[in-house]
Symmetry: C3
Amino acid sequence: MQEPEPGDVDFDAALLLQGPFPTSPGSPCDIHFMDDRRVLLCEKKAMRDRGALERWAEKYPLNLNRIMLAEGVARDVSPPASVPAPFSPIERRTMQDQTLPGILLSELRAQPPLVHCITNFVAMNIAANVLLAAGASPAMVHAEEEAGEFAAIAGALTINIGTLSSSWLRGMEAAALAASQSGKPWVLDPVAHYATLFRRAAVDRLLELGPTVIRGNASEIIALAGGESRGQGVDSRDEVEQAEESARLLARTHGATVAVTGVVDFVTDGERTARIEGGSPLMPQVTALGCSLTCLVGAFTAIRPAAPFEATVAALATFAVAGEMAASRADGPGSFSPAFLDALAALDAPLLDRHARVRSA
Amino acid sequence: MQEPEPGDVDFDAALLLQGPFPTSPGSPCDIHFMDDRRVLLCEKKAMRDRGALERWAEKYPLNLNRIMLAEGVARDVSPPASVPAPFSPIERRTMQDQTLPGILLSELRAQPPLVHCITNFVAMNIAANVLLAAGASPAMVHAEEEAGEFAAIAGALTINIGTLSSSWLRGMEAAALAASQSGKPWVLDPVAHYATLFRRAAVDRLLELGPTVIRGNASEIIALAGGESRGQGVDSRDEVEQAEESARLLARTHGATVAVTGVVDFVTDGERTARIEGGSPLMPQVTALGCSLTCLVGAFTAIRPAAPFEATVAALATFAVAGEMAASRADGPGSFSPAFLDALAALDAPLLDRHARVRSA
Amino acid sequence: MQEPEPGDVDFDAALLLQGPFPTSPGSPCDIHFMDDRRVLLCEKKAMRDRGALERWAEKYPLNLNRIMLAEGVARDVSPPASVPAPFSPIERRTMQDQTLPGILLSELRAQPPLVHCITNFVAMNIAANVLLAAGASPAMVHAEEEAGEFAAIAGALTINIGTLSSSWLRGMEAAALAASQSGKPWVLDPVAHYATLFRRAAVDRLLELGPTVIRGNASEIIALAGGESRGQGVDSRDEVEQAEESARLLARTHGATVAVTGVVDFVTDGERTARIEGGSPLMPQVTALGCSLTCLVGAFTAIRPAAPFEATVAALATFAVAGEMAASRADGPGSFSPAFLDALAALDAPLLDRHARVRSA
């Protein structure tokens, strides 16, 4: 990664390509960071040889994102402190061997798992569409009369307390109990559990039923481990980095895999840790994507019930790569959603493994 | 329809147009089937005369879909066994005279029916948008305190048990009873009724209230008629063809019109039968489209309460043509949804009658 | 505004630009009204000098909407009676000084308010996305066990009875009471309250808890003030103009700001009145946009709890400008939704103030 120097590049005429493209030796231009995204800055003469650029882009399909004149914004180019440096090819390969997101995605597509989701009213539709696009078979079943019976036949269960009520809580408890008793993995998403007494009590009862994975934002994970979060509504007001110790503590206390999602995700089972980079700043502007990710974690744990850490990492990597692909095609949070589902459906194992950015933390 | 022979077409340079275009005598190219969609394959020299192609496409607006180089995939071109041959113009005209989808759509637009939908949380939004795009006026009302009162003033009622609970079931029963008593048609969508005891009992009670139409996927219809379905979650694991006898039996037992939807839909009132072709393989990848179709069937039965068979066929044909139009504009399941609503809103009687593919089975 | 005369313009070759562009002295063409939208009609010779047109369009970014051949439709061009004449620059500036939509939007972005929404199942997702795109932080919380506790910590509360039930009504009452007691503004959206006894009784109880703002369509506002509306389902069958007196009466009776939304919105606090122009005929074809607007009104009242009239006008102006921007990019109701969220997110104070069309009524 190079930092552009004044005079280094004729910025007014620079060409800007955004997207999750690799640091390729054949690239005719330099790659920099801008606004949390990789950006290709090309000098004026590279622009004139647009053919070479396009030939290079053709070799890396994900680069076919957006070609536009930089229009002076290049002046701000510098790697922001919060964005980790990209992994070297060697480091990346090691991580992929360890977590195998591509292999898990292939298995999920070959044998679509039935995923029992008890989620909130906001997330219902987008979460089901995320599971379908990824290749899984979602089912939304919440009534206490049937939630336990259904959890036992599903491949995995996910519980999200976003729009909680007493009757739904009874269904959640019946389902979590049945999942635990039949050895099925289940994922807990403790949405804004710190906000009210009712929520805190509900999450305490659900935690006792032994979730396999807990996924939340930084504020939720900090508060769940007994720390002082700045959370108030459903949006996180803390950074992932601040929640890492809480996540480790929580994982050890409950024998669970814990995922803290944000700009760079963090996953731990108490011993091992991983960070997953990717996604897009547009994602927090789209409601219920975190809830949908919880359901996707469920789908991957159904594929590898005995390896929830690896399954969680694979789900997060899938989400991050699809998010990165979608961001390069979106004009805002509205067009991001359909582009994200398209990207998830278009993703396959080789694409995922080529673009996933996972490393042990 | 012609099968391309090796050497017949210069595939590497073939031009590919996808979409629901008619078999037109003026077409400068041959029409084949590929992946369940009609595909236009043009020889290299037709490509050179792109002007002629574009003039032809202008005459058939639905053809303005996608023009792309075939890039070698043309090698796989052959009509898949699962896709029925297209109807001859004469056969098609006969069917249209019988079922009149265009006339019903025109009447629906001229006098938008109020459609009372009790559907699941996943389908709520997309189903309401489907009804609005088609021209109807949806209302989602489920509480037992008011569902009966509302059903009596609506033009039709639809009931879908996707995210069932005891209190909703009471609302459904009140609504179905009121609809029956006031002579309003009502449609039952028995989502995954085979999955739990609670669901099976609920559907038994609803069936006793005499639905006018029952719409389900193959697994649901087979199980509802007492057969052995392979269903588990909400997605069908059986083919429409395997459910035809079950549908006939169910129609006769309950005096209802029964629709089995899938790759090619099947409708019967116990005596008459129809098959509706169209749609897109993307549709099962979008959640709740089947549930939305149930609501659309309700809208059409409100237009023709005394002719539920014809109304159901018209609703299914409308859905199939809009799906075909949308698929040609979509890059995946995410972009399919907005394209589908756009297509539904853009559809009018002449377009519908020109592209509907309905035949007696 | 000029009315085209026969022979005035060579229509067959006219160029059509749609969008919320200003009446600019530099425009190379004439601006007319068509179908409730401003349309630029250019003579054939302007088309030939397309470069001049594009330079002009570049100066006004909102104009970069759609450039297409008019294809004969220009024959219908004439200002429809229902579209008020555009405001003069002076009149517009006066209104903006009074209501300051841009300033409120800036404040909302700088300090995202937590908005507690109790809304219906259809609106849940799109309403949350509208709030996020506008810059606010939505939270959907409805259970009676926690709705009161949560309303007290939120910046504002919104209540929508679209998919009402007894248990939700208890949550609504608890939340409205807590909001009133803690001095938080709250907004009531009495969806189809005239349709059933259950709804009418529910709205009577909620009205007693003193809503800060009431937002509805014309049929709802007329019926709420005791008048004879033509409403039946959830869609309005009356015009905004017919509801103005009802709105004034309702505002005075309840000490509330009342907003009637439709083709041209009307807002009153009993004394002052404002009309807000904009939006798109596509908006009533998209479900739950009115419900989402209710939530956005809540977000703006959280910014200015002591000035609900100004806050409501600002929210409606924001919605109208974003709707106008989105319509120029949409092909129908399906593509309108993502375009609308993109437009909301892209909107800033200068754009809003330049394009908002607000005037005292």
